[in-house]
C-alpha cells in the first residue's frame, strides 16, 4: 500500500509524516511519531483513553485517520505542560490524587482541557457529562471532578 505524506501541526511544531491510508491518528502518534501518551483502551471511541484535540475539538484519535491530520492543529498530552511547568490541570490532578494506574489519565486531561477551553466555569454536572466519554476504572471519578473544578477555579484566577 502506498503511503500518504501528511503535513500537520502537533503541539505547536510543524510535523510531516508518511502513513498508510488505513492508519489511525492514534497509530501515527504512537507508532510513527513516538508520542506514547495517548493510549488505545478500546479502539472504538468508547473509552476516551486516546483523546486528542484537533482544531480545538476533543476527538478519539482511534477514530480519526492519520491522513485526516493534514493541515490541522493537534494537541496531545505531550504538549500540555510547559517544559517542566505542569498545566494547572496536571498540578491539580496530583494535588487531588485524581489518578491511580494512570492509563486513562492523558485522555482525561485532554478532555478536561478541551472543556475548560470552551467553558471556564463548569458546574459539577457539566464536568461529569463532558467527561462521560472517558472511562476510568480506578478512581470512581470523584477526585477527577474535584481536580477539574479546582483547576478551573485557579485558571480563572479566583484562587491561587
Amino acid at each position: 500500500m502506498s503511503s500518504i505524506a501528511v503535513s500537520t501541526t502537533i503541539n505547536g511544531d510543524d510535523v510531516e509524516f508518511l502513513c498508510r491510508a488505513d492508519e489511525t491518528l492514534l497509530d501515527v502518534l504512537r507508532n510513527r511519531l513516538g508520542l506514547l501518551g495517548a493510549k488505545e483502551g478500546c479502539g472504538t471511541g468508547d473509552c476516551g483513553a486516546c483523546s486528542t484535540i484537533v482544531d480545538g475539538r476533543v476527538v478519539c484519535s482511534c477514530l480519526v485517520l492519520g491522513a485526516e491530520a493534514e493541515g490541522r492543529t493537534i494537541e496531545t498530552i505531550e504538549g500540555m505542560a510547559n517544559g517542566s511547568e505542569l498545566h494547572p490541570l496536571q498540578a491539580k490532578f496530583i494535588e487531588h490524587a485524581a489518578l491511580q494506574c494512570g492509563i486513562c489519565t492523558p485522555g482525561f486531561l485532554i478532555a478536561a482541557k478541551a472543556l475548560l477551553d470552551v467553558n471556564p466555569e463548569p458546574t459539577e454536572e457539566e464536568i461529569r457529562y463532558w467527561l462521560a466519554g472517558n472511562l476510568c476504572r480506578c478512581t470512581g471519578y470523584d477526585k477527577i471532578v474535584r481536580a477539574v473544578q479546582d483547576a478551573a477555579l485557579e485558571m480563572r484566577g479566583e484562587r491561587a
Binding site: L36, K39, E40, M80, L99, L131, G133, R137, C138, D142
Partner: protein
C-alpha cells in the same frame, strides 16, 4: 493536626508526574527491535470439535513468519491451576487440561485456535482472515443448573460431569444447621444472583516475548499483578524454562482488579514463539479480546436461609451456591467460591451455626476467577440482603437487627474457621450513620416525593479477609503456592535506600506509600527511599499484589528487612561511638548513645558500611543490604458500614445514587489520600455491579456484552461524590504495621447497600418487593414496581 510526612501523611504521589505527562511506561509502550506481531484466531462458537485447520493460504501471505496451532503445543504443558479444592466427600476437584492453543475442541467463544505471527499487526490480521477452521459445532452448556443436570453435554469429555466440585463447609455442621433451621422461630429465605462481571482494567492485556540465543534466556514483558508468579507458573508448568533462564517484567500496569493475576495463554505463546522464531513477538489485546479472554468475575446463583429466634438473634445460616468456573480452571478460580467466600459467611455477626454448600460448574463460557473482592462480595451480598429481608419480615429496624448480632468481643473465632483479631462494628455503624446524615433522611425523602421521586435508604456492614495469607494454612486448604511476601532493602554508601519488593503497583501508589514507612522507621526524608518492583531480575521472589495484601504482607516484609538494617547499622554505630550496640538509639536519622550527647549520623554509618576502614570486620560483614520474607500468621479483617441513598424515578425505574457514605476500619493508615482513592474506586465498581454491569450470554454461549456499547461501565455521570471515613481504627494485632488493607472494601460493601436502598424506596411506596437481581437496570426496577 495531620502529619506532613511519614506514616499517616497524605503525601502526593511521586509516580503521578510521569503518568500526567504521558511518560508512563506500560507494556504496550515497549517495542523491541525486529519484533513480530501475533494475531490469535479465536473460536466464534462456544463449543465445537475442530475437524481441520487450513493454514496454507495464510502461511503464504505477505509478512507471515509463523503459524501455530494446538499441535505445536502438544509437547508443552497446559496452563496450570494454582488451587486444588477437595469436595465434601474428600475427593479432589475435577481438573481438566487447559491447553495454550485449543486441542481437538473449542470450549468458549474466544478460545484461541491458532496464532498467526507476521511482521506487522496488519499483516497478521490479514493473513488470519485467510486461515480456515473447520469446526463441528456442539451444543453449548451455558446455564449452571442445566450443566449439572443428568444427560447434560459435557464441556470436557474426559471428565465425569460438568461438576468441578461439590464443596461443603463446615461439613461437620451440616446436620446441626439443618436441625437449627428446622426448629427456628423464623427463617428468611432468599434466592439471588451475583451477576457475572468483566473486570475491564482500562489497559488491555499485552505480552511481549523475547529470546536471547547468546545466553538461552527468555524474557516476557506482560501486564501482570505478579511477575514472579507468572515466571514460576509459565516456566515450571507450561514451557519448561528454569527460572534462572526466564525473566518476567511487569512495568507500569494500567489497572488489574484481579484480572491480571492469572497466567494467560497469550503470555506463554509469546514467550514460546519468540524462542521458536528467534525474534520478539508482541501481542496487544483488542478490547473485544479482553471481553472474551480476561477472566470474568462473580457469577454465583445462591439460595440463602437465615434462621432467627423470636428476638432476632441469628441461629443458623445455610447456603447453596452454584458458582460458574467457565470452560477451564483459571489460575485461582477454585479458591474464590470456597475459601474466599465460605469463610466470610459469618460476616460481622455472631451466628453459631453455618453451612455453606458450593457447586462449581463448568460451562462453555469464559473462565471465571478472582475479581476485586473475590468471593467476599458474593458472601457479603447474600448476607446483607437476607438480613434486610429478615428485618422487614420480623418488623425489626435493619440497623438494630445488625447491632443485636454484631460480634463485640475479640478475638472472635467464627464457625467458618477464621479468627477475627480486632474490630468495632458498632463504631463504624455509628460513624456511617453520622456522615450519611441518616437523621435528615425523612426530610430528604419528603423533598424527593414532592419532586415526584421515590427515595430509599440502604444500610449494611461488611467484613473481609485480606492480607492473603498464612502459607501453611492456605497450603492445607489446597493452595499450590506460598503466600508470603518479600523485600530487599539496599542501603547505598551515601545513605539512600532502594527497596526491592515482590509486591506490584498497578495504581496503588506503592512508590509513594512504601517510602513513608521506611523513612519513618529510620527518621530520614522519604526522598531518600526508592521503590523497585515489577521485574523478576531485580526483585526477590514475591507473590505480588491482590487481596489487599501489599501493605499488610509486602509492607510487613519491608519493615522486617528495615529492622535488620537498623540492627546492623546500630552495631556499626556502636563501633564508631565506642559503645555497646544495646545502648544505641536511632532517632531522626541520628544514632546516639543513650544518656549521652555522643552521636553519629545515618550517612556516616552507611558510608562506614561500604568503606570499612574503621569497622568491626571480625564481627560483622561490610555492606548494608537485607532481605526479609514475611509470612503472615493470620488474615487481616477490615470491616465497615456503608450507606446508600437513592432516588428512583417511578415513571422509568431509573435509579440515581444521591449519596453514598462509607465508614471503614482499615486499622492503621499510612497514606489517607491513597486509601480514600482506593475506597472511591471500589465503590464505583460496586455501584457498577449493582446498577449497570452485566456479562450476558445467549443460550448458544455467544457473549452478548463484548463491547462498551453492550457492557455498561460506570461513567462520570453515573456516580455521586462519595463521603468516606476511616477514622475508626482498630489496628491489626499480628502484623508490625497494624494495617488491614483497603483495596477491595468498596467493591465488597457497596452492592448490597445499593440494592437495599432501591428495595427500601419501593417498599416505602407500597410496593411489596423483597429483592431485585443486579444490575438494577431501569427495566428491572420498573418491572419490580409494576409486577
Amino acid at each position: 493536626m495531620p502529619k506532613d510526612h511519614g506514616i499517616g501523611a497524605s503525601n502526593k504521589r511521586r509516580e503521578d508526574v510521569r503518568f500526567l505527562t504521558g511518560r508512563g511506561k506500560y507494556t504496550d509502550d515497549i517495542n523491541l527491535a525486529g519484533q513480530a506481531y501475533v494475531h490469535f484466531v479465536r473460536s466464534d462458537v462456544a463449543h465445537g470439535t475442530i475437524n481441520k485447520i487450513y493454514t496454507t493460504a495464510a502461511a503464504a501471505a505477505d509478512g507471515v513468519v509463523g503459524i501455530f496451532t494446538g499441535a505445536d503445543f502438544e509437547g508443552v504443558g497446559g496452563l496450570p491451576c494454582g488451587w486444588q479444592v477437595t469436595d465434601r466427600h474428600g475427593n479432589p476437584m475435577q481438573e481438566p487440561p487447559h491447553p495454550v492453543l485449543a486441542q481437538g475442541k473449542v470450549r468458549h467463544v474466544g478460545d484461541p485456535i491458532a496464532a498467526v505471527v507476521a511482521t506487522s499487526y496488519e499483516a497478521a490480521r490479514d493473513a488470519a482472515a485467510l486461515l480456515d477452521v473447520d469446526i463441528a459445532e456442539l451444543p453449548a452448556v451455558v446455564d449452571m443448573k442445566a450443566a449439572v443436570a443428568d444427560g447434560a453435554t459435557k464441556v470436557h469429555d474426559e471428565l465425569e460431569s460438568n461438576l468441578c466440585y461439590d464443596w461443603g463447609f463446615v461439613e461437620e455442621n451440616r446436620d446441626a444447621v439443618d436441625t437449627a433451621i428446622k426448629n427456628a422461630h423464623h427463617v428468611t429465605t432468599l434466592e439471588l444472583v451475583n451477576n457475572r462481571l468483566i473486570p475491564n482494567a482500562m489497559e488491555p492485556r499485552v505480552a511481549v516475548g523475547a529470546y536471547d540465543p547468546t545466553n538461552d534466556e527468555s524474557t516476557l514483558y506482560t501486564t501482570s499483578q505478579n511477575p514472579h508468579v507468572i515466571r514460576l507458573l509459565m516456566g515450571a508448568f507450561v514451557l519448561g524454562i528454569p527460572e534462572h533462564k526466564l525473566r518476567v517484567v511487569a512495568p507500569d500496569v494500567g489497572g488489574g482488579f484481579g484480572s491480571k493475576i492469572f497466567h494467560y495463554a497469550e503470555e506463554a505463546f509469546c514467550t514460546f514463539a519468540a524462542k521458536q522464531l528467534k525474534m520478539p513477538v508482541k501481542w496487544t489485546a483488542q478490547r473485544s479480546e479482553s471481553f472474551m479472554t480476561d477472566a470474568h468475575g462473580r457469577d454465583h446463583v445462591t439460595k440463602i436461609e437465615l434462621a432467627l429466634d423470636a428476638e432476632g438473634h441469628f441461629q443458623a445460616i445455610r447456603t447453596e451456591t452454584y458458582a460458574n468456573m467457565g470452560a477451564y480452571l483459571s489460575t485461582f478460580a477454585p479458591s474464590v467460591p470456597t475459601w474466599l467466600h465460605g469463610t466470610l459467611m459469618a460476616g460481622n455477626y455472631k451466628t453459631p451455626l453455618i453451612y455453606v454448600n458450593v457447586k462449581a460448574v463448568f460451562t462453555n463460557t469464559v473462565p471465571v476467577d478472582a475479581y476485586r473482592g473475590a468471593g467476599r462480595p458474593e458472601a457479603t451480598f447474600q448476607l446483607e440482603r437476607v438480613i434486610d429481608v429478615a428485618a422487614r419480615e420480623m418488623g425489626i429496624d435493619p440497623v438494630e437487627l445488625r447491632r443485636k448480632n454484631f460480634v463485640t468481643e475479640f478475638p472472635y473465632a467464627t464457625p467458618v474457621a477464621v479468627e477475627y483479631d480486632t474490630g468495632d462494628y458498632n463504631a463504624v455503624m455509628d460513624k456511617a450513620l453520622e456522615i450519611a446524615d441518616v437523621a435528615g433522611f425523612d426530610a430528604r425523602a419528603a423533598a424527593s416525593q414532592a419532586a415526584g421521586k421515590w427515595r430509599g435508604l440502604g444500610i449494611n456492614t461488611y467484613i473481609e479477609a485480606c492480607g492473603i495469607a498464612p502459607s501453611a494454612l492456605v497450603g492445607q486448604l489446597g493452595a499450590r503456592a506460598g503466600l508470603y511476601e518479600s523485600a530487599t532493602v539496599r542501603v547505598n554508601a551515601t545513605g539512600g535506600l532502594v527497596v526491592m519488593t515482590g509486591s506490584h503497583s498497578h495504581g496503588q501508589g506503592h512508590e509513594t506509600a512504601f517510602p513513608q514507612v521506611i523513612a519513618e522507621m529510620i527518621g530520614i526524608d522519604e526522598s531518600m527511599v526508592e521503590v523497585v518492583h515489577g521485574d523478576t531480575a531485580n526483585t526477590p521472589m514475591g507473590m505480588g499484589t491482590y487481596g489487599s495484601r501489599s501493605l499488610a504482607v509486602g509492607g510487613s516484609a519491608m519493615v522486617r528487612a528495615t529492622e535488620k538494617i537498623i540492627n546492623k547499622a546500630k552495631k556499626i554505630a556502636a563501633h564508631l561511638l565506642e559503645a555497646s550496640a544495646d545502648d544505641i538509639e536511632l532517632k531522626d536519622g541520628q544514632f546516639s548513645v543513650a544518656g549521652t550527647d555522643k552521636s553519629v549520623a545515618w550517612g556516616d554509618v552507611t558510608l562506614a558500611a561500604y568503606v570499612p576502614h574503621n569497622y568491626p570486620l571480625e564481627d560483622i560483614e561490610p555492606g548494608l543490604e537485607e532481605t526479609a520474607f514475611y509470612d503472615p500468621s493470620n488474615f487481616t479483617y477490615p470491616a465497615g458500614a456503608y450507606i446508600c441513598e437513592v432516588e428512583v424515578d417511578p415513571d422509568t425505574g431509573k435509579v440515581t445514587i444521591d449519596r453514598f457514605s462509607a465508614a471503614d476500619d482499615f486499622g492503621n493508615v499510612v497514606n489517607p489520600m491513597i486509601v480514600e482513592g482506593q475506597v472511591h474506586g471500589g465503590l464505583a465498581q460496586g455501584i457498577g455491579q449493582a446498577l449497570l454491569e452485566n456479562c450476558a450470554y445467549d443460550e448458544n454461549g455467544q457473549i452478548l456484552s463484548a463491547s462498551y456499547m453492550d457492557y455498561a461501565m460506570p461513567r462520570a455521570d453515573d456516580v455521586p461524590m462519595f463521603s468516606v471515613d476511616h477514622s475508626c481504627q482498630t489496628p491489626c494485632t499480628h502484623n508490625p504495621l497494624g494495617v488491614k488493607g483497603c483495596g477491595e472494601a468498596g467493591a465488597i460493601g457497596s452492592p448490597p447497600a445499593v440494592v437495599n436502598a432501591v428495595v427500601d424506596a419501593l417498599q416505602r411506596n407500597g410496593r411489596d418487593v423483597r429483592h431485585i437481581d443486579m444490575p438494577l437496570s431501569p427495566s428491572r426496577v420498573w418491572s419490580a414496581m409494576n409486577g
